[in-house]
Amino acid sequence: MSVVLGGFFWFLAVVAVAAGIAVFRVDSMARATYALALSFVSVGVMLLLFNLEYIGVITILMMVMEMAIMAVFMIMFMGMNPALMPMSMVHSKRSSMILAGGGFVVLAGGALLVPWPARRGGPAADLTQSLGEAIMGSKMLVMLTVSPVLFATLVAALVLASPRGRYDRFGDDLRISPPRGPEQKDGRS
């Protein structure tokens, strides 16, 4: 059983890394985005191997959602049709390659050489429930911090990204109904 699990783990690891490399190798923005999604899905399935069912499925859910939206931004911001022409939009490729390679040697070497301590304790019977109790009990402060950060991000991102506020939509005294649609560049609405 453990041999099968080990083989499955290595398969997933190879898929995750290969998909990660593909992100920066393929020519199509859409394929790059979904290669990243594939990498995330394999990591999500790996989490399932550690019995982290809730976190694993949530990772898959969130990342597929993010990548579906990311694909839209990718295609929107590339000022050409990336599906049709090969592209290479990189700078300082050599030094990045050296840094990344050196980083891998250090990290992997550390992972292999450090004498890891023996396992302490065992997992709870129902990990999802224990996670919920941790969030609502001893680790509540963490979540209390994360939620205002997320809210602030939401507001800040909207403020940065939206070209118009409510006075543009509803008029100077906020009475226009229905609200004005987004204006085009040439002034049409």
């Binding site: 199509s28 859409a30 394929r31 979904y34 999604a37 069912e53 809730y54 499925v57 949530i58 898959i60 859910l61 597929v64 959602m65 990548m67 579906a68 939206i69 694909a71 839209v72 599906a83 049709l84 129902d126 999802t128």
Partner: protein
């Protein structure tokens, strides 16, 4: 069902796939009947219409498009059926289920997020403007239905105190959840119709853009996408029965019969919705979804939580 649900053996996935196919065929035949009745043709021709359509599409030649992204296109087109099957895996039939995952409800949710990617890929891959417009329309629609759908899924989970579908079914023994969480039920049903790109939520396949995602699809590709749509609708109906309509509970008949009967009844309404409502534009609907529906579902979840705390 006092003991919740039991998992079936290796034959389970095969039976589930066949059953999902049959239920999806029922939905297609029903839609055929509705069309036939409107055209004053016989009911029999309506029932047979999906059969003829399948035969026609299987014989039709596959259209190929210049510079198509075939990999993403094929994945998107065939993926809907796979996702529907993966959803059906956690839907209990009476007291049997293929896999009673401890996070079954989240699993269902994760699978319906897959539909976002798949429909968009099917629209993108064809390298056709209208097809891509359809894909973008679906993403726009996804942004408006997904959050209410997630919170609608939360309500029965909170009431049952478990993410396991079997526990949710067991928790409804006294009273079906639809009775005291009707808002969540309605929003869930709307969500199912939306992720199946069906009826009022099908602008991604709109006639105004020549069929949207379907515009370049022919032959077996078109068959896969249309069948995937019916399969998603069927899996969603089955899940609605498990979450809100008491699963297999009912008098005089074994649980699996009741599950099937309820699923087909829900499916009847889903298919009929297509004939009752016009197609809704996502950009018009988004304000209503975020300003009205989302707070309504949140209030529903609050109500359920208060009941659970007070119990």
């Amino acid at each position: 069902m006092p003991d919740g649900v039991v998992q079936v053996g290796l034959l389970g996935p095969v039976v589930a796939a066949v059953l999902l196919g049959c239920v999806a065929f029922f939905a297609a035949a029903l839609d055929g009947v509705f069309v036939a009745r409107m055209g004053r043709r016989s009911v029999r021709s309506g029932v047979a219409s999906p059969v003829w359509e399948v035969a026609r599409l299987l014989r039709q030649r596959r259209r190929s498009v210049v510079a198509a992204d075939s990999l993403l296109w094929r994945v998107g087109v065939s993926g809907l059926l796979v996702v529907a099957l993966l959803k059906a895996v956690v839907v209990p039939l009476g007291s049997w289920v293929v896999a009673d995952l401890s996070v079954g409800v989240v699993w269902f949710n994760a699978m319906d997020v897959m539909v976002w990617a798949l429909v968009w890929m099917a629209g993108w891959g064809a390298n056709s403007a209208f097809s891509l417009v359809g894909g973008y329309r679906f993403l726009g629609q996804a942004l408006l239905y997904e959050l209410p759908l997630m919170f609608a899924l939360t309500a029965p989970v909170v009431a049952a105190g478990s993410l396991r579908v079997g526990d949710v079914v067991t928790a409804q023994e006294g009273l079906w959840f639809v009775v005291w969480m009707p808002v969540a039920f309605l929003v869930f049903c709307a969500g199912v119709i939306a992720f199946s790109v069906w009826g009022p939520f099908s602008p991604a396949l709109g006639r105004d853009i020549g069929g949207g995602v379907l515009v370049e699809l022919s032959g077996v590709d078109r068959l896969l996408l249309l069948a995937g749509r019916y399969a998603l609708l069927s899996a969603g109906a089955g899940f609605a029965v498990a979450l809100f309509l008491g699963g297999g509970s009912g008098p005089f008949a074994p649980p699996w019969v009741w599950t099937l009967v309820k699923t087909l009844a829900v499916l009847f309404v889903f298919v009929g919705v297509r004939r009752m409502f016009a197609v809704l534009r996502p950009d018009r609907l988004v304000e209503a979804a975020w300003v009205v529906v989302l707070p309504a579902v949140l209030l529903q979840v609050l109500f359920v939580s208060l009941v659970v705390v007070g119990r």
